[in-house]
């Protein structure tokens, strides 16, 4: 069986899902036997090569998130939403109750720990009006909820995808 190609990406999330992915521990060796990780936050590539499975952590909060998401969607056969931020919006979604200006002011100017703050404008992507789960922007083929999804859960789902199967959803977990 030809080795599958996996790409992972981290959008508006906390990296927890990737940590959980690394928590696969010795199963990473089994994974390496079945698949190549062709792109990920810890692999230094600028553009996504074609891949079988794309794993997305994090929701879409800014223009860059959206651009990266669209690229990975185009590059991957199966796009998987990994974790609650990608699937439900989760914590970043809290900002949707406020205007972007209020959120930025609170974070960069009003925050108690800052004396003379300013909202950064150079070389940072624009915020989108609302943080949204990725399936509100692109077609998603599978979801692995969890905050973060446990390594076992990731292994179960990714393992199934590598074998060309669909893992049953009878053990969902949102937290």
């Amino acid at each position: 069986m030809a080795k599958k190609r996996i790409a992972t990406v981290w959008l508006c999330g906390c990296s927890g899902c990737h940590m959980s992915f690394l928590d696969l521990d010795d199963r990473l060796i089994d994974l390496a036997a079945m698949a190549d990780v062709v792109a990920s936050p810890i692999v230094d590539v600028k553009d996504f090569p074609k891949c079988d499975i794309g794993l997305v952590e994090g929701g879409v909060a800014n223009e860059e998130n959206l651009e990266v998401l669209l690229k990975l969607r185009a590059a991957s056969d199966t796009l998987v939403s990994l974790g609650d931020c990608a699937g439900f919006g989760c914590v970043p979604m809290l900002r949707n109750q406020f205007s972007n200006q209020d959120v930025l002011d609170r974070a960069y100017i009003d925050v108690e720990s800052t004396a003379f703050g300013a909202v950064p404008t150079i070389e940072v992507p624009q915020l989108l009006p609302k943080v949204k789960p990725i399936h509100e922007h692109v077609k998603v083929d599978a979801w692995i909820p969890g905050c973060p999804p446990s390594a076992d859960r990731i292994w179960k789902a990714v393992g199934a995808l590598l074998r060309g199967e669909v893992a049953d959803g009878d053990t969902l977990e949102y937290d």
């Binding site: 699937g87 109750q97 949204k132 789960p133 979801w143 937290d175």
Partner: protein, 702 residues
């Protein structure tokens, strides 16, 4: 009741007419998913999760609000229903802001569980992201509207069970929201802080603030015990993890009551002061950590002193009525059988001796009403009691009676409390006039022919005839027409209930005797021979302590100048004592306090302090205000520093007495023998008990 036959999922099922389809399913182990249904609350069909298909109906309908009909053909789990349910759930998730990872209910949330069951791994509808507030104003409860699914379980529980009706729904459709009173913050509302809304909320919308910092209800393992808050004796269920007690819930109990009051729900888990972790002995002006044996030896030395040998009554014990019967039993036996002193008392603010005398405890336990009778009453007379503060669950029963059964409420109390606004008649009389008022009420009942005066001495009835409204107004210090009105309402009621608080017995037994007289003379007895009168026991085992031989001490006339040693066995008791008691205590030569937590007033008067187990670490027997025996189990083991009171007294006895006088802790009073957990102790038969006419005589002489 007629029976109905219908088919559910191709199964023929018989059930009683009037049952809902949902309940018929439940009775036959067909698991229909629900969210707004809660056992014991009226169904409203708010969540649409319990929808079923019925042959001949165009659309699926909610099974929780549809009664069964003969010949119905019902299906509960067709693919179409499952699809609709999943969509409904997705709409619920998308309608507000659910962020499970930091929600205190995650792991034990009904919405979440329904989501799992229906494979909701993402929401296909656009999120609405409404901007909703979190109401943090309440002392114990937080209300996060972001997680509310508008099932209205809280609204219904607050109304139907608690009788407070603090919560309701504002606005309509997508704008609807739960509000308190006229949309004020929960902390400033009429909320009685019973936490029932938190208990019934399926999501993390209503949660206990404390649980934001720890597991709350995330574990599903519950342990059961008895609330030690007051004499009602509610059963409570608690989650326990890592030696921490989580949310406390009502767990059935005396009348399968589903509610607790603020004391049971929150006070037990919000102790006001620090735990005492060491045996302390006063050296000079300071406490020093010492070994418990030093206290035992010091007590033994003092007990051997000439003055106590000559007069054992110089040893006194003040016990908290919140302690289990086992501890009370051992202590009073130690006092009586080892020391030879009958000067022990349940140290609550009630006048123990006057209630004992009025109820004539020496001739057996009186048959008094319990919670169940409250739910059948159509009139309440509340005398000398602040129900809201001292017996919140009783207050709830009264409120829901007034609210839902239109029961009448009469109050005799100088103070204005919340319930006062709900009264039909409120006598704002002076407390010491209570006996007169009750006697006058009995006189009017006799005049109206509602009370039996056959046994009344003739001279008294002659005197009474000459006694008119003006005389009564003078004797009672209050307009007699109000008393007459009360008597008329009482006479007209079918199941009137008199609820007596400690205020009634404060100045002696005649008040309570007067109340009993009314019940007796009007024959207000339940079918099983209980008087329709409730005597509010302030503490969890106030009633249990009545099983012991009458103590020779009453807090009201306790004279400490004649005491050399005082044992204060107080457990968790936190309520500060009146200053007069403390002043008295300071005159006692040696005071040993058994406590769980720091209490400045008691510590200041003590010479030695023994740390003991707290309510959640001890099990034991309790007898509630209707004489129901209940056994609570410890939720966890006591910490190693906690000293067991019974073991202490055993040790002290061994240290003090020679081997031939060795004392063994006696078994519980015989009345408890063979009484099962949850059963009533046997009471005396009061059916032929005569009215005590002296109260009326006192009226004519006043």
């Amino acid at each position: 009741m007629s029976n109905v036959r219908l088919s559910i999922n191709e199964r023929e099922i018989d059930c009683a007419a009037g049952t809902t389809i949902l309940n018929a399913c439940k009775a036959h182990d067909i698991d229909v998913p629900t969210l707004c249904h809660f056992e014991g609350l009226t169904d409203v069909g708010a969540c649409r999760l319990c929808i079923v298909e019925i042959d001949g109906m165009r659309r699926p309908i909610s099974s929780c609000t549809t009664p069964v009909e003969n010949g119905m053909v019902v299906r509960t789990h067709t693919p179409r229903l499952q699809t609709l349910r999943r969509q409904t759930l997705e709409l619920l998730f998308g309608e507000r802001n659910h962020i499970c990872p930091f929600c205190p209910r995650s792991g034990n949330c009904e919405l979440q569980n329904r989501g799992y069951e229906h494979g909701v791994d993402h929401v296909r509808f656009d999120y609405l992201f409404p901007k909703l507030p979190v109401d943090n104003s309440h002392r114990y409860i937080a209300f996060d509207h972001n997680r509310c699914i508008m099932c209205t379980r809280c609204v219904r529980a607050c109304d139907e069970w608690v009788g407070a009706h603090t919560l309701d729904v504002d606005e309509r459709g997508g704008l609807s929201r739960i509000i308190a009173d006229q949309n004020v913050p929960l902390g400033e509302s009429s909320c009685v802080s019973c936490g029932t809304c938190v208990t019934v909320c399926p999501t993390g919308a209503l949660f206990e603030k404390r649980s934001a910092h720890w597991h709350g209800r995330s574990t599903k393992e519950f342990k059961e015990t008895i609330c030690t808050g007051c004499g009602v004796g509610c059963r409570i269920r608690a989650t326990v993890q890592l030696r921490q007690v989580g949310e406390l819930h009502a767990a059935g109990g005396p009348d399968n009551n589903r509610i607790l009051c603020e004391k049971g729900r929150f006070w037990l888990t919000h102790p006001g002061s620090a735990r005492i972790n060491n045996v302390l002995i006063r050296v000079g002006g300071q406490f020093e950590q010492r070994d418990v044996d030093e206290v035992v030896q010091e007590c033994a030395r003092r007990l051997r002193s000439v003055s106590i040998q000559k007069d054992p009554q110089r040893v006194v014990a003040l016990l908290s009525g919140h302690l289990p019967l086992e501890t009370l039993n051992a202590t009073q036996s130690f006092m009586r059988d080892v020391v030879g002193s009958d000067r022990w008392v349940i140290a609550d603010r009630s006048n123990t001796q006057s209630t004992r005398a009025a109820l004539d405890i020496d001739s057996g336990l009186p048959p008094l009403a319990g919670l169940k009778e409250l739910d059948r009453a159509d009139l309440f007379v509340v005398i000398g009691a602040n129900l809201e503060r001292n017996a919140g669950v009783v207050a709830s029963y009264v409120r829901r009676g007034v609210l839902h059964r239109r029961a009448r409420l009469l109050k005799i109390n100088p103070r204005h409390t919340w319930l006062t606004d709900w009264t039909d008649v409120h006598l704002e009389s002076e407390r010491r006039r209570d006996p007169m008022i009750l006697a006058a009420m009995l006189k009017y009942l006799i005049d109206m022919g509602a009370a039996d005066a056959a046994t009344m001495p003739t001279d008294l009835s002659k005197k009474l005839k000459r006694f008119d409204d003006d005389d009564i107004s003078i004797a009672c210090g209050i307009d007699a027409t109000q008393i007459k009105q009360m008597a008329a309402l009482y006479a007209a009621a079918e199941a009137p209930m008199i609820i007596c608080g400690r205020g009634l017995s404060k100045h002696g037994p005649t008040g309570l005797i007067g109340a009993l007289n009314i019940v007796r003379a009007t024959g207000n007895q339940t079918a099983d021979g209980k008087w329709r009168l409730m005597d509010l026991a302030l503490q969890a085992n106030t009633y249990g302590a009545r099983l012991f031989e009458e103590p020779g001490l009453n807090m009201h006339d306790f004279d400490p100048h004649s005491a050399d040693i005082a044992f204060l066995v107080l457990g968790d008791s936190q309520r500060e004592w009146p200053r007069t008691w403390l002043q008295k205590l300071r005159a006692v030569t040696y005071v040993v306090a058994f406590l769980t937590r720091e209490r400045e007033d008691v510590l200041a008067a003590s010479h030695a302090v023994i740390p003991t187990a707290t309510w959640s670490e001890r099990g034991g027997t309790y007898v509630n205000l209707e004489g129901r025996l209940q056994v609570g189990a410890p939720l966890m083991q006591p910490p190693s520093h906690a000293v067991d009171e019974i073991a202490f007294f055993q040790k002290l006895s061994n240290e003090w007495k020679a081997a031939q006088d060795a004392w063994d802790v006696p078994p519980l009073p015989a009345a408890c023998d063979g009484v099962a957990d949850g059963a009533l102790l046997s009471c005396r038969d009061d059916r032929d008990r005569a009215v005590d006419w002296t109260t009326l005589r006192e009226l004519t002489e006043a």
